[in-house]
Amino acid sequence: MNLSRRHFLILLPAAAVAWQAVLAGSPEASPNYKMSEHWWGMLIDIPKCIGCGNCVRACQAENDVPDGYFRTWVERYHVSDGNLSNPEVISPDGGKEGFSPAKEDEGKYFFVPKLCNQCADSPCTQVCPVGATFTSPDGVVLVDQTYCMGCAYCVQACPYGCRYIHPTKKVVDKCTLCYHRITKGLTTACCEACPTGARQLADLKNPKDPIHEFLKTHSVQVLKPQMATGAKAFYYDLDGSVR
């Protein structure tokens, strides 16, 4: 091949562009979605939760969660006489059908919706022996069910009890933060179905997301902060008795 210096210099930028395309790798499932531009979490506004169980039902419908297993569930706390160390906690069928009415009583009641905290330093992904569970580049803890062998190390490792072994697939299953929805620009099924806005999907990398203003101006806590899991489920007005 006979390449003059002039032609070589002309071709150089084109070659650079082509090499960039090679480095970029294969395109993703949702063409307009870039993993590097998101960092997902959730805001849970406890004073707004009415314990209707809509989120639990929505999650089961959206993700084909088997009966008796939960990717998200709601707990009702009853703290009497300021006894923070010994609250009465109930969650009948994960709160799926709501809660039977509570009688006016001494002490306080409140609902705590729970789900995978999408930890940035998650204990569950660290113990997987086969690389079947991982934190995606946009901050969602996912499971590769074709790799999982069902050893349940991660089920034991999760301090929040958010994982289970699927009864028929025999592999681990958990909240994906509705990854198939958020990558399409939709919100999660639980947020979509929540009638009071007690749950809000939050994109911590999006400067326009209302989460930033909320975190600046409200008293927000994560569950089990002493575990240093980097949890990204932020609870507003969380009571000290919540475990």
Binding site: N54, A61, D105, A132, Y179, A193
Partner: protein, 155 residues
């Protein structure tokens, strides 16, 4: 050549080692998926597979593109911020193909799943005692899309 005189067995051993390594790398290359290690110690395509699952809830925007009449009804009422599918259930199939009819809701059951009175609920939230309607469905008096009677919600 003095020191290599009797070294033939060493070369044979080295050759065996090289063949063994190449076989291992070949088998490994065949069995480890292409996308493994793309983002970390896992199969990169697993992310794409999770993202490709079908949706069941269409999302409020999809509802509002067609049902503008309901949007107008809702916008000044107490249910303005309640998403359609919070009550109507997952309707992605209906959004894809409007000939798929959503099931009719029974307000005598549905409304109570949120509004049954309970001391556990936040104090500001609208709650009704069991005998509030003496068994009549809520929509006898309340328009579900804008439920306050004073606001013209009554039928």
């Amino acid at each position: 050549m003095g020191i290599f005189k009797d070294a033939g067995h060493l070369f044979r051993f080295a050759a065996l080692f090289v063949v063994g390594t190449l076989t291992f790398l070949g088998i490994r290359g065949f069995f480890v998926p292409k996308s493994f290690g793309e983002y970390g110690h896992y199969r990169g395509n697993a992310i794409v597979e999770v993202a490709a699952r079908p949706i069941h809830y269409a999302g409020n925007q999809a509802c509002e593109t067609c049902h503008t009449d309901v949007v107008n009804k809702k916008k000044d009422g107490k249910h303005a911020h309640v998403n359609c599918e919070a009550c109507h259930g997952p309707l992605a199939k209906h959004a894809d193909d409007p000939s798929v009819e959503p099931t009719k809701l029974d307000t005598a059951v549905l409304c109570l799943s949120c509004h049954t009175a309970s001391a556990a609920k936040p104090k500001g939230f609208a709650q009704v005692a069991e005998d509030h309607s003496s068994g009549l469905p809520c929509e006898t008096c309340h328009q579900p899309h804008s439920p306050a009677i004073a606001a013209g919600g009554a039928k």
